[in-house]
């Protein structure tokens, strides 16, 4: 079904493309006269717009190996290729373009369509996007390409509080206004939403990821996702995003509200030598009072990445190679309620600190060396599961 959609959209594009002026490269609907926003990331990938073909193809690959132990049991050395991703974009005409992202994950062995949407510009402030859309909740979701990060793992909160690479079929508007010092952007979409696996899953806790509908059988009310982002050339970008919908299941009595509020920030300082980036998200989900308390109705999580460039030299023939060091601090609280029986807090949280060193030979590629120390506490607050692991990763656009 998803693939039918892609083929349909591609077909439509090539048709429209034929009609369009022979405007070649699949460049974008982003204004270079304005500052960029996080939401432009998908159009700012290095493959975009630098050839003369009607269709641009690019992608990135992400591979890593890790070695670690959890409470004394060694995990051994493992190799993973979490992501092999292909982008394909084409300019349909002066006012419209199509972009798709398809990924293969070695962990699940599955090919996943992440994004496949047509963007059409009516006005700088009013662009229409339709198709399979990456919901703008937080900043990571829309800007998730592994080569952009100095960390091997995706942030815990951006994968387990907000679903990892979360996209749904729908339609909406986006736009921005500003100049080279300020920019203000918005996005607003109506898409398919969640099913009731959010509160009925084998993790035994509330989890939005579990309830991402396979869109074949979605029958609920549309979900709203919206974001406002403001960026200043010096101070960085601040985004506030909101998701509101319901989880439902076809022919079942279950239904309840879901809402997510997220705030994200990213800023570069000291002539781009210091990057501070982070987001925090709060989830609320209606849980029937007669259901199990392990499914919490409030969750919260976030992360901060601080990355500093300690050397910028030419080395091994790379002119602008950089060596970065940094750290990620992150946490996720999956259940912010209290036990009815004791009024004590329900724990069920996870936190981690991840120091890193990375080598970026150029802007497209990065070699990452991380150490990740994570503690997971069960819902009663018993002694935590402690995991320490060394991770070596390589990510590159191609």
């Amino acid at each position: 079904m998803k693939y039918t959609l892609v083929i349909f959209l591609l077909g439509l594009c090539s048709f429209l493309n034929g009609q369009a002026s022979s405007q070649s490269s699949a460049t974008l609907l982003i204004d270079s006269s304005m500052l960029y926003l996080n939401s432009d990331a998908m159009y700012r990938r290095p493959f975009m717009g630098n050839n003369n073909l009607p269709v641009s193809i690019g992608g990135y690959m992400d591979a890593n190996t890790s070695y670690g132990a959890t409470n004394g049991s060694k995990t051994g050395i493992g190799f993973a290729m979490p992501d092999l991703t292909l982008f394909l974009s084409t300019r349909i005409n002066k006012r419209a373009s199509f972009l798709t992202e398809v990924a293969y994950a070695s962990v699940t062995g599955k090919v996943q369509l992440r994004h496949a949407a047509i963007d059409a510009r009516l006005h700088r402030l009013i662009n229409v996007r339709t198709g399979l859309i990456l919901n703008p909740i937080g900043a990571f979701n829309q800007n998730h390409d592994a080569p952009n990060y100095d960390f091997v793992d995706r942030p815990i909160a951006a994968t387990t509080i907000i679903p990892a690479i979360f996209s749904n079929v729908g339609v909406g508007l986006f736009g921005k206004t500003g100049n080279s010092n300020w920019v203000l952007g918005y996005e607003a979409y109506l898409t398919n939403g969640f099913n009731d696996k959010i509160i009925d899953n084998t993790l035994g806790r509330t989890c939005l990821q579990e309830g991402v509908s396979s869109f074949e059988n979605f029958s609920g009310k549309p979900m709203f996702t919206g974001k406002i982002a403001l960026r200043n050339r010096y101070a960085g970008e601040l985004g506030v995003s909101y998701l509101s919908g319901v989880y439902t299941e076809h022919d079942a009595p279950t239904t309840g509200k879901v809402a997510v509020l997220a705030v994200d920030y990213s800023g570069k300082f000291l002539r781009n030598r210091l990057l501070i980036k982070g987001e925090i998200a709060k989830v609320s989900v209606d849980i029937p009072t007669t259901y199990i308390q392990t499914y919490g109705n409030q969750q919260m999580g976030g992360f901060v990445d601080i990355i500093g460039t300690i050397a910028q030299t030419s080395i091994w023939g790379f002119d602008h190679a950089r060596i970065n060091i940094g750290v990620r601090l992150e946490y996720a609280d999956y259940n912010q309620s209290k036990f009815e029986e004791t009024q004590g807090i329900i724990f069920e949280h996870s936190r981690a600190v991840v120091p890193c060193i990375s080598f970026r030979p150029n802007t497209k590629s990065v070699i990452k060396f991380n150490y990740k120390y994570q503690e997971q506490v069960d819902f009663l607050g018993n002694p935590p599961l402690k995991t320490g692991s060394f991770q070596l990763g390589f990510s590159s656009y191609f």
């Binding site: 409470n71 079942a252 279950t254 199990i292 910028q312 060193i357 120390y373 009663l380 607050g381 320490g388």
Partner: protein, 397 residues
């Protein structure tokens, strides 16, 4: 920036990484955790243990048969780390005060399924029923307890207190369901068998306990216990007999808790006090197994600190609810092994006695009444240092 600073930064980072002891976090020592197998299992037995462990951790969902009414969704949520539970996982059973059998079976007895899937109503205690609360016990060393012979249990019993020591423990006798295989050395009385698991010793063996736990705690039917706890109608099994048997095997082969610091003189002194003031009359230090189908459990001596018998614990612990031949005020002596590790599975606190009402070991002792009243009184008259030694000993278990 200079190469030198890069070098320093890298060296510093590596130094930070490797100087920290927790870099690859170590597990706790075997005597600090309850999880783990009895020694000497064969390769095949270890594999079955692993399967059982996994099934014990399985979280049930609507699709796999959870509910519609239930208490929680997994064994592990109530028996975290195979240890004792928390008020959140404490369950309620209802019935009547006499030993004529549960009169509320047609109304969903004996167990209250106080949670339900969205769209269903959870159960409530029917009018006129009495009830008691049960905090989950630890699950360790149960294989040993399962294979203590009936003869040994009867040898510890003294229903008429013939030896005049105030202690008159007796086994719980009850009819057992057909799917259970009777032990070859069973000593039945009027067609009733000696029961031994659970707070009132109402379960015959670990299979009995497990089949009931799936059914009554999670609303999961098996071909053993096939009546759905919500509709009270027979339904298709929601788990296989194989999976259930793996869980039983897992329970049977979980190791016995290992006592810590046994050479500490205070702890040795504590054990002496424990014996002197009569605790050991019920909390029997040493038992042995008879012949067991699992080799490593056969004819072994072990130290559970229980006699598997029911005792009159006085009116303070009388909840007016009973199971099989146990009286409302009778409770089975709980094993004390693993006691000192209780709080590691109870969220850092203690919830002791059958319903978790005792918030410390001392509070548990002070709740002893009935047959145990005399030892409680003796405990109260101990010197502070003797009391401390006793508690230190109990904490080392």
């Amino acid at each position: 920036m200079t190469k030198f600073s890069v070098f320093i930064a890298i060296v510093l980072t590596f130094w930070c990484f490797f100087s920290c002891k927790e870099i690859l976090p170590k597990g706790l020592d075997d005597d600090q955790i309850l999880d783990g197998t009895v020694e000497g299992l064969t390769e095949a037995e270890l594999i079955q243990f692993e399967r059982g462990d996994e099934a014990f951790r399985e979280v049930f969902v609507k699709e796999t048969g959870l509910g519609p009414s239930f208490v929680t969704a997994s064994c592990i949520s109530c028996h975290a780390g195979d240890g004792k539970g928390h008020p959140f996982t404490t369950l309620t059973r209802f019935g009547q005060p006499d030993e004529l059998g549960n009169q509320f079976m047609h109304l969903g007895g004996p167990q209250l399924q106080n949670r339900s899937l969205p769209g269903y109503e959870p159960e409530i205690i029917p009018l006129g029923a009495t009830f008691a609360k049960f905090t989950p016990p630890a699950n360790t060393g149960l294989g040993y307890l399962e294979y203590v012979s009936d003869a040994d249990i009867l040898a510890m019993a003294d229903p008429n207190d013939d030896d005049k020591d105030n202690i008159s423990g007796e086994p719980n006798y009850g009819h057992i369901p057909d799917y259970l295989t009777k032990k070859p050395d069973a000593i039945p009385k009027n067609d009733k068998y000696i029961l031994r698991f659970g707070k009132k010793a109402a379960a015959y063996n670990l299979l009995h306990q497990t089949a009931n736990a799936y059914n009554q705690d999670m609303g999961i039917t098996s071909s053993y216990e096939s009546i759905d706890a919500f509709t009270l109608k027979e339904i298709e099994p929601e788990i296989t007999v194989n999976k259930l048997n793996d869980v039983v095997f897992y329970l049977e082969t979980l190791k016995a808790p290992i006592q810590r610091n046994t050479n500490d003189p205070i702890i040795q002194n504590g054990l002496m006090v424990f014996k002197e003031i009569g605790c050991e009359k019920c909390h029997k230090q040493t038992l042995k197994t008879g012949k067991a189908p699992i080799d490593v459990l056969s004819e072994k001596e072990f130290h559970p600190y229980t006699d598997l018998l029911l005792h009159d614990m006085g009116s303070g612990l009388d909840d007016g609810y009973t199971e099989a031949s146990a009286k409302t005020y009778e409770w089975r002596t709980p094993p004390l092994w693993g006691l000192g590790l209780s709080s590691d599975s109870q969220g850092g606190a203690y919830y002791l006695m059958h319903d978790g009402r005792a918030r410390s070991i001392e509070a548990a002792i002070l709740l002893h009444g009935g047959e145990a009243l005399f030892t409680k009184t003796k405990y109260e008259s101990l010197s502070e240092s003797e009391k401390a030694a006793l508690i230190t000993f109990l904490n080392s278990l």
